[in-house]
């Protein structure tokens, strides 16, 4: 039987077992620092920490998801580096990637949990039908997602919610949320939860978070949404190479006008960059080839909560979600009717007052004074 206990070798040792020289290790650290979005000045610290780090057991749970997050990770561009990182973890359970099926697969999960209790990491992709939902909406091995999540998380060191579905509910939670989908942090309250949002997240960000945990043995610094600040600390807008055009007030008005061809700002075409926090602008996609805005498409805001319900992807951020000029007109007509009613009433009062007016004598007035 396979031993699922965390191996006792440190990372430095196992890297040297991979035949990595010290220069290679330095390079590995430089690339890791870049991946973790840490300044290159941190390389010596990373090197020292990686020497001592140990290989953690990882259980990957997939719930209401499309496997896009796993695709993003496994088809990532820098296989050498990501392979190394992934080889440095012990991925003990993953529906899509594991060879085992049926009882053997579920046994692997239970064994890993038992052997590494309190120390293993749980990665979740996909949202979970909440405890009040029909448990049949999404099941694995005949058990509800909720049940499996709570069981697996109970003795975990931490939970990493990969993708917007796991982090914020994502597409399954979009109105009208038929399955009562909830995010991991809605359900897991007593364990540290890291959200790696995005639809899908940038592969380098997924491995970067793993690398951080591996390197420093603790969770990275998080923002208000429990996302690692190193990757989600700045908005797309603030890091966008097209920002100078926004500042100059140069905008593409349509997808094929001269402004679009000149690479001007996409705000008017509905770019959600100003309200979206992610690392696309610097890490880019497909091996650093490009990213949505560089390819001429506005940011959809996929790493933010409720992004499916945040209005049209092609409406600028400043446009209200539901109000229309029709509503305004209806309200105006309603107001006019109310005003007309009030005016008629006032007119009537004036008329009655005029009709019932009694002459007043000087004596009467003086009496009142």
């Amino acid at each position: 039987m396979i031993d699922r206990k965390t191996p006792n070798k440190t990372l430095g040792e196992s890297l040297r077992d991979h035949g990595l020289s010290r220069r290679g290790f330095l390079k590995f650290c430089a690339a890791t620092a870049s991946m973790m979005a840490l300044p290159p000045g941190m390389v010596p610290v990373i090197a020292a920490a990686l020497e001592q780090a140990r290989r953690p057991s990882v259980i990957w749970l997939s719930f209401q998801e499309c496997t896009g997050c796993t695709e993003s990770l496994t088809r990532s561009h820098a296989p050498a580096l990501e392979d190394l990182i992934l080889n440095l973890i012990s991925l003990d359970y993953h529906h899509t990637l594991q060879a085992a099926a049926g009882d053997a697969a579920e046994d692997a999960r239970l064994q890993a949990m038992e052997a590494n209790t309190g120390q293993y990491l749980v990665i979740v992709d996909g949202s979970i039908p909440g405890p009040d939902s029909n448990p049949g909406f999404s099941t694995v091995a005949g058990r509800s997602n909720y049940e499996i999540l709570m069981e697996t998380v109970e003795h975990a060191a931490a939970v990493i919610a990969v993708g917007t579905c796991a982090a914020f509910g994502g597409l399954p939670q979009a109105s009208p949320n038929p399955t009562g989908a909830m995010s991991v942090m809605d359900l897991v309250k007593d364990k540290p939860v890291i959200n790696v949002s995005g639809c899908p997240p940038i592969p380098m960000v997924i491995t970067g978070v793993l690398a951080h945990y591996l390197t420093f043995g603790r969770l990275p610094e998080l923002d208000a949404y429990h996302r690692p600040l190193a990757f989600y600390g700045q908005s797309i807008h603030d890091r966008c190479y097209r920002r100078p055009f926004y500042d100059k007030g140069k905008f593409a008005e349509t997808f094929d006008d001269e402004g679009a061809k000149l690479g001007w700002c996409l705000y008017r075409l509905g770019c959600k960059g100003p309200s979206t926090y992610n690392a696309c602008a610097t890490m880019r996609w497909n091996g650093g080839v490009s990213w949505p805005i560089e390819s001429g498409h506005p940011c959809l805001g996929c790493s933010e909560p409720s992004f499916w319900d945040a209005g049209s992807f092609y409406q600028p951020l400043s446009v209200p979600l539901t109000a229309t000029s029709g509503d305004l007109l209806t309200a105006a007509v309603g107001g006019a009717v109310v005003g007309a009613g009030v005016a008629t009433l006032a007119n009537k009062q004036i008329k009655t007052a005029v009709a019932n007016r009694q002459p007043v004598t000087v004596e009467e007035l003086e009496e009142k004074l």
Partner: protein, 220 residues
Amino acid sequence: MSGSMAFLLWIKGPMFNIALAIFAIGLFARFAEIFLLGRKPNYAEPRAGEWLPGFKTMFTRSIADPGTFQRASFNVVVGWVWHLGFLIALLLFVPHVELMKGLFGIVWPALPNPVVDLITAITLIALVATLVHRLTHPVKQRISTFDDYLVWTVVFLVVLTGYLAYHRLVNPYPIALGMHILMAEIFLIILPFTKLTHIFTAFIARWYNGAAFGRKGVAS
């Protein structure tokens, strides 16, 4: 879950509808009231037409007469500066033009952002100056009511939150943008019930004035 995005979506969604409804109902109730109550019929024979002088006065009254300018030059100059600044920021800033386009489908050209930014900064300074003036000027001090301070606060906060959101001085951004839209919504809500109604009624009142003078055959 911390809900800065939920806040923004609520502000942009239901809250915007509520604000717009209160604004439109309130404003049009007042319009209907004003027009239906009207003026007492004037049985004197008109000496000249009233429409043209009415419309003319709507604009000529925007320029203070020399006497007023000499008596209250601060009011005139600073008043002009911040009113114009506010209007430019409101109507010629790209996101605002997009808002109008989204609501009404009408588009007009916008100013470059740095220009609007500068104008907004000037507007903020002018607004602070008006408050200082109101608080220190012996007469203004006495005639100022709660309504005046409320309106000043709301107008100032609308501009200030807009400035903060543009420069992204509040984090996270959805909160900054949400606060700005919320202030604009409060502005819309109180508009029909405070002196802010003058945005519309000033021109009605001027028309009445100009028309009345025109009818009498005198220049207003």
